[in-house]
């Protein structure tokens, strides 16, 4: 098997060994083995990540940054080590550029409320794509509304690939921000963010990359793509819920006003006013999510050991196989690029006669977890003239036989509803 011979990481990419690390994969659902294909929503966690939480709470737990006692020093140290791991993972020049947030959504809102609030004025425009997640639409809509700025959409072709003929007229001298998803959570499309960064920088705009679906699945290098901001969530990359990352260019972060006020983000307070702390603390108000930062470090270690090149290759192979199998079904249409090399491991599809919701329930009866609905991308899903779609999405522990189970499950469901 070609997968098991890859080794850009320090560990052989062996799906069986990987599966053994995930306790939840032992669960039975309606008496069936769990086939978890809802990874774009959130991924499962290996025992190494779960253990890092247990270890933290059993051995280290304390508040950070101002403590002279041993636990506090250890907690502070581990918290910063985790930040450094994340910085290295995305090749950030400096670890102070890595800000802990709750999730991708908060990272995006942070930029909207600080950088964009300070830099976008009436008549300016913000460019996003027509395939964004709600979290990368609504903050900008609201800001544009408040400022009298304009939201512009980069269009895509029928197969979900951005239309670059359009792009250079959409992005113009009044563009202040281009905010685009690196990979669509519905279409699976991988967007050429480096190319968009160039277009943005050419007109003096800043580019924010919503990397919620890319950082977990492929090597991402913020310097290589020349991003200005990058946002992602730990829970979509083996890490815990409740913690995410905003990476930003040092000079931008330094100029930005703080987002929230209180606790660690303050250097000095008098009854009259306050002075902000240095980066990254300026953006981290109150007691941080220390335990989950530790666990995020553990998730990054796990992925780094596997090697992101190998993670990506595994998903590419599995996606190609799944596309082939799903497209072979008579009554199923797949949204997005039909060529699997242009997409990541997310496949949204609709069935001619079975509503996604009914399909979701029927697959669940067979132990197969997929997502159904608008996937927080309502305008996009509607543009395909459907109100909902079914979505299967893959990660490191998924296998070909799980794809077979999905395809078989769809056929069984057809049988059931045609009885």
């Amino acid at each position: 098997m070609s997968e098991s011979t890859l080794s850009a990481g320090t560990r052989v990419f062996d799906p069986d060994a990987i599966r053994a690390d995930f306790p939840i994969l032992q669960r039975k659902i309606h008496g069936q083995e769990l086939v978890y294909l809802d990874n774009a929503a959130t991924t499962q966690k290996p025992k190494q990540v779960i253990k890092s939480l247990t270890d933290y709470y059993e051995q280290t737990n304390a508040n950070v940054h101002r403590g002279v006692h041993t636990l506090s020093m250890e907690a502070t140290n581990g918290y910063e080590v985790a930040r450094t791991k994340v910085a290295k993972f995305i090749n950030a020049p400096r670890s102070e550029e890595v800000i802990w947030t709750r999730n991708t959504s908060e990272s995006l809102n942070l930029v909207a409320a600080t950088w964009a609030e300070a830099n976008i004025s009436e008549g300016d425009n913000i460019v996003i794509t027509a395939m964004e997640h709600h979290s990368n639409i609504v903050p900008w809509q609201q800001l544009a509304f408040k400022k009298g700025a304009e939201i512009r959409y980069l269009s895509h072709n029928d197969d979900g690939v951005i239309n670059f003929v359009d792009a250079s007229s959409v992005i113009d001298s009044r563009t202040k921000l281009v905010s685009v998803t690196h990979m669509s959570n519905v279409l699976g499309t991988i967007n050429p963010v480096a190319k968009l960064a160039e277009l943005a920088h050419d007109v003096g705009a800043v580019i924010l990359v919503d990397a919620a679906q890319s950082v977990p699945h492929m090597p991402v290098d913020v310097q290589a793509i020349d991003a200005d901001f990058l946002a992602f969530s730990a829970h979509k990359m083996l890490g815990p819920t409740g913690i995410g990352v905003l990476w930003g260019r040092l000079d931008l972060l330094e100029e930005m006003p703080p987002y929230m006020f209180g606790g660690d983000m303050i250097l000095e307070v008098t009854y009259e006013g306050a002075k902000w702390n240095d980066l990254p603390y300026k953006f981290e108000a109150g007691t941080p999510n220390i335990a989950d930062a530790f666990a995020t470090g553990a998730a990054v270690d796990y992925l780094s050991d596997l090697g992101m090149e190998n993670v990506w290759q595994h998903e590419q192979e599995l996606t190609a196989y799944a596309m082939e199998q799903i497209l072979s079904l008579d009554n199923v249409k797949v949204l997005g690029p039909q060529d699997s090399s242009q997409r990541g491991g997310v496949i949204s599809f609709v069935h001619d006669t079975i509503h996604p919701h009914d399909l979701g329930t029927a697959l669940d009866q067979q132990g197969i977890a997929i997502r159904t609905g608008h996937h927080c991308a309502m305008p996009l899903v509607r543009s395909y003239d459907v109100v909902a779609a079914a979505r299967a999405s893959f990660y490191i522990y998924n296998t070909r036989s799980e794809v077979d189970a999905l395809v078989n499950g769809i056929s069984e469901t057809e049988g059931y509803f045609n009885r």
């Binding site: 996604p356 609905g373 189970a405």
Partner: protein, 152 residues
């Protein structure tokens, strides 16, 4: 092989024959002329959306149309609703809505109420699938709101 038919039989309570029948052949879908109540309801999370029209004469329903798209449960439920209301008094309809609400919450309903509901009792199967209760209730809640506003 993972998966398999076995699991699907457990859905029989959800997808009773009567539900599938209403899903495949929805009743009362022809538009009502000059409706007194005309509204859209939707559940954006599932993408279900229905268009409800009622003609109300002297506190009784003299015409009804419900059309739209959604999952089997929401469509069958809408069709069952359309079938029920036709010719009923607004009071009877409101009592039935209340009764369906209680049925789906898993509360007891009386024998007389069961008689009034008839086929609609089949919706009760949704109780074992709590995430689908919203689908079953969508058109009922919408029609109830519309009636209340009309009668106010």
């Amino acid at each position: 092989m993972m998966g398999g038919m076995s699991g699907l039989n457990e859905m029989d309570e959800l997808y009773e024959a009567i539900i599938l029948d209403h899903y495949r052949s929805p009743r009362n879908t022809a538009a009502v002329e000059n409706p007194d109540i005309d509204l859209e309801v939707n559940n954006p999370f599932c993408g279900d959306e229905f268009h409800i029209q009622l003609k109300v004469d002297d506190c009784s329903i003299s015409g009804v149309s419900i059309t739209g798209r959604g999952c089997a449960i929401s469509q069958a439920s809408a069709s069952l609703l359309a079938e029920l209301v036709d010719g009923k008094s607004t009071e009877e309809v409101q009592a039935a809505v209340d009764c369906v609400r209680r049925l789906l919450k898993g509360e007891e309903i009386s024998n007389e109420e069961a008689d009034i509901l008839g086929d609609i009792e089949a919706l009760g199967g949704v109780r074992k699938f709590p995430v689908r209760i919203k689908c079953a209730l969508l058109s009922w809640v919408g029609l109830d709101d519309g009636l209340k506003e009309h009668l106010a």
